[in-house]
């Protein structure tokens, strides 16, 4: 009987606490994700030259454990115009977010700060393969992530697309 009553006492004590639960679908009342939260991968946008950071070097594609990415590069038109430092630029990029396991390996191996785990985590779709995100959708995710978190590249000097420096050297 004593064990039962102590249990009841614990339950009653909890009645005077503030609730720890959150109302999920309500955007105001839900629990915020942490800064480091790894949602689905997204491509970042270089505002200085108005192009993606990604050069299509394929290193993330090769390192992905689930092989959920494909990428294709092209010659950067802005480079020939002298507006960008990137010789090559991403042409097509597709991530099958349904297959992505959110491991963050692509972010870790990327040398160009081009891919980043966004805070996006709700991506249910009504169509099969609706989560196969192309370049534009991934950039949209990335731009949203950048503006929400005030994202800065980890190696700003190396990865900036601004061609000024190169002109100076030459």
């Amino acid at each position: 009987m004593i064990g039962f009553l102590t249990g009841l006492f614990v339950t009653m004590k909890t009645g005077f606490r503030r609730p720890v639960t959150a109302q999920y679908p309500d955007p105001e009342k839900r629990i915020k994700v942490e800064n480091r939260f790894m949602g689905f991968p997204s491509l970042t946008w270089d505002y200085d030259v108005e192009e993606p950071y990604c050069t299509g070097c394929m290193v993330c594609v090769r390192e992905c454990p689930t092989e959920c990415m494909t990428a294709k590069m092209k010659d950067n038109p802005l480079f020939s115009e002298g507006k960008s430092r990137r010789k090559k630029i991403i042409d097509e990029f597709e991530i099958n977010l349904g297959r992505c396991i959110l491991c963050g390996i692509c972010v870790e191996v990327c040398n160009f700060d081009a891919i980043e785990m966004s805070h996006e985590h709700e991506l249910s779709k009504r169509v099969r393969n609706g989560n196969r995100f192309g370049l534009q959708q991934l950039l949209k995710l990335g731009i949203k992530f950048q503006s929400n978190t005030n994202w800065q590249p980890k190696q700003p000097e190396k990865n900036s697309g601004v061609p000024v420096k190169k002109v100076d050297e030459e």
Binding site: G7, E34, P65, I101, C103, G104, I105, E108
Partner: protein, 372 residues
């Protein structure tokens, strides 16, 4: 197989199929029970519903990628799984891990052990018919998972440990948050303990139910809390210390009778010991590098190793054969739940059918690890 429990079964029998989608089978696990009246006379466990061929997949992935597969073995103690694999590769490469990385690993692994045991506590309450404990357990577990999220970026599949260290430095508020968390969790554990452990109905359901003797447990390859509940003080952290577990002072909870209540209480006690370890690790931890000097693509030398770690469920062994390339030649996982689950055939024979779920729950299986 000879099971030395004799049952009088003149007239048989009714076969009951339990699972694979039974709410209390902890995953996709199927049991075929032959019953005679209220007694179970024969048990046929069926596993393999979650078989993903992890061991085979490992052979096709680079070492850094294999860590993500290990996350998905025991999916409630992911970091302990990662630790087992990373330590196996590291000792194959004979790497020295920076102290700080080891401390962070130990802290996170012990937190994960707490989270895993809390999950057991909650679901075990459900298994025996108590609805409230799961809410208390998940409240505490949620805090731990939120804490993991702030460090590793994920709540469950962390992919945080690297071969040679860890992925990234801890956030700035780590120490404050951790000590706050520990206070909350240890308070929560006491509440959990008060809520269920001495409850008369719970005692009636679990005391002297599903008894396995020490010698039988050893024979079945049972390990971890289940073995310690039978009275054998075997813990790899103490008997063969890996990582930096020899620097801490903590006890191994051991019970004697090997019934369901003992298996339950050993786990609850282990949570307290884990908190003790974390507190010591926090005070001992110093600044320093977090990653050993390793090449980005790990290539362990030709050789093989069987590395044992203590996962929340028992002896977690990784048998790793390397042929010198960047992919493992063979990875064999000795999953503690796999061996623990074998003893179910023995435990359930002669038990009442009402106790089947109680006994199954007390073994604390995770099907991701059993089926691999």
């Amino acid at each position: 197989m000879e099971i030395n429990k004799t049952i009088n079964s003149d007239n048989v029998d009714l076969m009951i199929n339990m699972g694979p989608q039974h709410p209390s089978t902890h995953g996709v696990f199927r049991l075929l029970l032959n019953i005679d009246g209220e007694r179970i006379i024969d048990v046929k466990p069926h596993i393999g519903y979650l078989h993903r061929g992890s061991e085979k997949l490992c052979e096709n992935e680079r070492y850094a990628q294999v860590v993500t597969l290990f996350d998905r073995l025991d999916y409630v103690a992911n970091l302990n799984m990662e630790l087992g694999f990373c330590l196996a590769v590291e000792s194959l490469m004979e790497l020295d891990i920076p102290d700080r990385a080891s401390y962070i690993r130990v802290i996170l692994c012990e937190l994960n052990r707490i989270a895993s045991h809390l999950l057991f506590y909650g679901t075990y309450g459900l298994d025996v018919g108590a609805m409230t404990p799961v809410l208390y357990a998940f409240r505490e577990r949620e805090k731990i998972q939120g804490f993991f999220e702030s460090i590793t970026g994920a709540r469950m599949m962390h992919n945080y440990f690297r071969i040679g260290g860890i992925k990234e430095e801890l956030p700035d508020d780590f120490n404050n948050r951790l000590s706050l968390l520990l206070d909350e969790v240890s308070q929560g554990i006491e509440e959990c303990d008060m809520l269920l452990s001495k409850n008369e109905m719970f005692l009636a359901r679990t005391k002297n139910v599903g008894i396995i003797s020490a010698s039988d447990a050893v024979d079945f390859g049972v390990s971890g809390p289940n073995l310690r509940a039978s009275g054998i003080a075997r813990d790899i952290r103490v008997s063969k210390p890996y990582s930096i577990y020899d620097r801490f002072d903590y006890g191994i909870p051991v019970a004697s009778s090997g019934d369901c209540w003992d298996r339950y209480y050993v786990r609850l006690e282990e949570i307290r010991q884990s908190i003790k370890i974390i507190k010591q690790a926090m005070s001992q931890m110093e600044d320093g590098p977090i990653l050993a000097k390793v090449r980005r693509i790990a290539r362990p030398p030709k050789g093989e190793i069987y590395f044992r770690t203590e996962s929340p469920r028992g002896d977690f062994g990784v048998y790793l054969v390397s042929d010198g390339s960047d992919k493992p030649y063979r990875v064999k996982v000795r999953a503690p739940s796999f061996a623990n689950l074998q003893s179910l055939q023995y435990l359930l024979k002669g038990a009442y059918i009402a106790d089947a779920v109680t006994i199954l729950g007390s073994i604390d299986i995770i099907m991701g690890e059993v089926d691999r």
